[in-house]
Each structure stands twice: as C-alpha cells, then as structure tokens.
Symmetry: C2
Subunit: 223 residues, 2 copies
DNA sequence: CTTACATTCTAACGATATTTAGAATGAAAG
DNA sequence: CTTTCATTCTAAATATCGTTAGAATGTAAG
C-alpha cells in the first residue's frame, strides 16, 4: 500500500462526512437535531417535505455517522452522534456567513426588526440576566428547552406566548432567542411582544452557538 | 417571500460550502492550502492529479468562497479565505476521526512506529520545548514553516534531513511534526532519524490543529 | 511579434445524488 | 390474528458531479 493509496483512503473517509453536509435539507435536519432528539415525522413536518424523503436524508446522515437512531415504541428517534457534530454545523454556518456574500445579504434582509443584539457580548448578556436586569426567554418548543437552554432563560414557546404573556414582568427588557440565526421563532415572538408594547430584543445565538463558544448551558431535570 | 422560501435560501447558501467539502481531492487541497499559499502546479503535483483537474477543483473551492486566487507573474497562487476555513477543515476531520470507524482503523494501521505522542498534552510539550528538554522539528518544506510554525520549532525539511542531521543535538529527544494526522512527512523523518540511532517521537498535530486548539504560533519574518 | 508556459474554458462521458411513487417491514392496538 | 401506522426499501426519472481531452486565454521571455 503506497502513500497515495493511503491518503486517498483517509480523505475519502472524511469526504463521506463532507458529503453529508452538501445538501440543504440535510443541514436543516442537523440544525433541528442539534436542538434535541426528534422523530422522522416531526423532522419531515418541520422541513415541509415528504416523510420518505426525510427518511432517505436521515439514512444518509446515519451512513456518514453524524446521527444515530433508536426505536422508541412506534417511532424511530434520531439524534446527533455527539456535540462535536453540532459544533461542526455551527462552524460550517459561520464560515458561510463570513465568506458567502449572498448569505449575508439574505440574513440582513431577514431582519424585520432593527432591535438586534449585535452590540452586546454574550458575557454581558449573561451578567445582566444573572442580575435580573433582563428576562431571557427561550421560545422553542418545551422539549428542546428541556434538553438544553441558556442559563437564566425561562421556557416560553411561541405557541404559548400570547396566553402566557402576563407571566413576563412588565417593566423589564425581554431578550428572546430560539434555534440560531436561521430560526424565525424569535422573530415571531418579537412581533407578538412588540404588539403588546413590550421592550424586546433578539439574541441570534441558539444553544449550539452558545456551547460552541464555550459558554455554559443548563438542562431541565426530567422527572 | 414565505418562511419556507427564506429557509431554503439560507440553507442552500451553506450547502454551497458543504458541497465543497464533499470531495476527497478538494479536502486534500484544503489541507495543503491550510499550510500556506500554493500554485496550481504545486498542488496538482502533491495530489498526483492532472493540473486540469486540480484547476477544476480549485475553481469549485473558489465558488464556495473557501479559497481566493491571485496572479503572481506566470503563476496563479491560491490561498484559503481565512483561518476559519482551516478550522473548519480541522473540525470536519476530527468529527470523522471520532465517529467514522473505518477512518480510525486506517489511521491506526498507518502508524508504523509505536512512538506516538498520544500521552503527552500539547501544553506539556510546549513547556518541555521552552526548557530545551526536547528539540521540536518542523519537517515540512521551508516555505510552509515560514508561514507559520510551532513555537520553539526549527525548520528541518525531510528533503534536507539526511545531510543536515548533525545540526540536531545528539543527546536530546527529537519531536517531529508535519501537516497533521494525515501527513506522512514526519513518518519519513522518523525512519531516517531512527536509522541514525536518534530518540524521536511524532506529534500528530500540525499548525492548524495547534491553532484550532487556541495555542500560539510563530511566523518567520520574510525579509 | 513570436514562442513557451501555466492555467482555464468547453464539451463529453460515465458515475453519483435527489426526488417521487409503490411495495415491504415491523411494532402496536383492537 | 388482523389492522393500523411509522418508517424503510426498491425502482425509476432527472439532475448534478468528477474526470478527461482539446481548444483557448493570458503572461513572460526571447
């Protein structure tokens, strides 16, 4: 076995993982799975694609060893193979944000509200939340919050926000976050909160951006 | 523009970058470019492929914004768009090493010598090198050393090692490194050094693994 | 201006990937 | 045991990718 053959072998194995990252649908699946385990059906609904297609893409991710699956009763549950896979997704997305001009433009257009949380650092937000100066809300579905959430964040899923809005203290500024920069849940939440006259900002980070930056997370104790 | 259309657009842009990572040849090009800028010809020779094919793959990398190119006289010189691209490559490779069983096996087979540098941490090595207890040699071509090298490392390209071997102190242990875990230059160097009765170990890290771990690097001042 | 050389562009082939529909599997509920 | 439901497997159509060869571009040197 000569050097060339060895190298080809090595790079081919890594390319197996790279190939898994070459489809927008698979990337969206990874982003969702990075929030926590999910069934095929849930994933296919989030992506608005046929369940057969979702299954095919999940199979590809499994072959690339980025996800694992496990049967739970009637459902097949998929999850990421590890936190390093979520980190890889974050890194890939950040490289794209940095260098792919079209992506930056699309992201800027996406911002419907000017109240971004760009100027504030993560550490500052953490300190403000710790001192109770702001209320951080996690607007993802409850189950995702339970798997991991930002310190001091309280669960307030968008679906429940309208009827639970009075749980939020009136005077304080609210900071909403969801799955990450590509997720629109926090934008929905902002619209609702602004319509009610609340002061609110958006944190574009999700839990995976937070973790990739080396910051701490919390999990709910599932009883 | 509805939510689905926006999301498709965003993930498609990231998938452009992901697609660039789906070919073993392009990954090898990235690894080489992560060591420093190179011409098309140099890259095609390292990969043992036709220059036309190398050019086509480089074009794909350029379209994905992972590399940039610039004419220097007769030659077209390619370089990575940024350190974040090298970090992405390192992260991708590490995820593959962690989860793709076949890659681990191939890497283990590759090890011809048992004197790995697994047990020693990077910080320990750095401390030993600082105190002069070991001699760290960078066996890559000089130009790559000049772009970035480990602190306390001296340049000792494999091509020059045999005739320059007496420059290395006889008593001390030698630690050799090259481009990273997939690079065979340090193995060649070890063979030469062991044949001469030297005590030598291999560091599987290259400069990019070192940088991705947040450790410092040095560059030569080009006069 | 011509020649040499490095690189890219164009066209073409076969191989591979994405998507859809229909059949098949496998657990759970009646 | 049969039915139901979630999921996967198989097959086929289409699009995309990797590779090669030949023509074209653009710079440098004589």
């Amino acid at each position: 076995m000569n050097k060339r053959t060895i190298k080809n072998l090595l790079y081919e194995q890594v390319a197996r993982v790279g190939s898994a990252l070459s489809s927008p649908k698979r990337l969206e699946l990874l982003e969702l799975l990075a929030q926590g385990e999910k069934t095929v059906e849930a994933l296919s609904q989030e992506l608005s694609v046929d369940i057969k297609l979702a299954s095919a893409h999940l199979k590809a991710l499994k072959m690339a060893r980025l996800v694992t699956s496990q049967r739970q009763g009637k459902y097949q549950v998929y999850r990421l193979s590890g936190h390093d896979v979520a980190d890889l997704w974050v890194q890939l997305r950040q490289v794209a944000e940095e260098h792919v001009l079209e992506l930056r433009l699309a992201l800027n257009q996406m911002v419907t509200h000017p109240q971004q949380l760009a100027p504030m650092t993560r550490e500052t937000l953490l300190a403000q939340a710790r001192r109770g100066e702001v209320v951080v809300i996690d607007v993802r579905p409850r189950q995702e919050y339970d798997e991991a959430h930002l310190p001091f964040a309280r669960s307030m899923p968008v679906a429940e926000l309208k009827r639970r809005i009075n749980e939020l203290p009136k005077g304080k500024e609210i900071v909403a976050y969801c799955r990450g920069p590509f997720c629109l849940l926090s934008d929905e939440a902002m619209q609702i909160l602004i319509a009610q006259g609340r002061r609110v900002r958006k944190l574009t980070d999700g839990v995976n951006e937070w973790r990739a930056a080396g910051l701490p997370l919390e999990t709910s104790n599932t009883p």
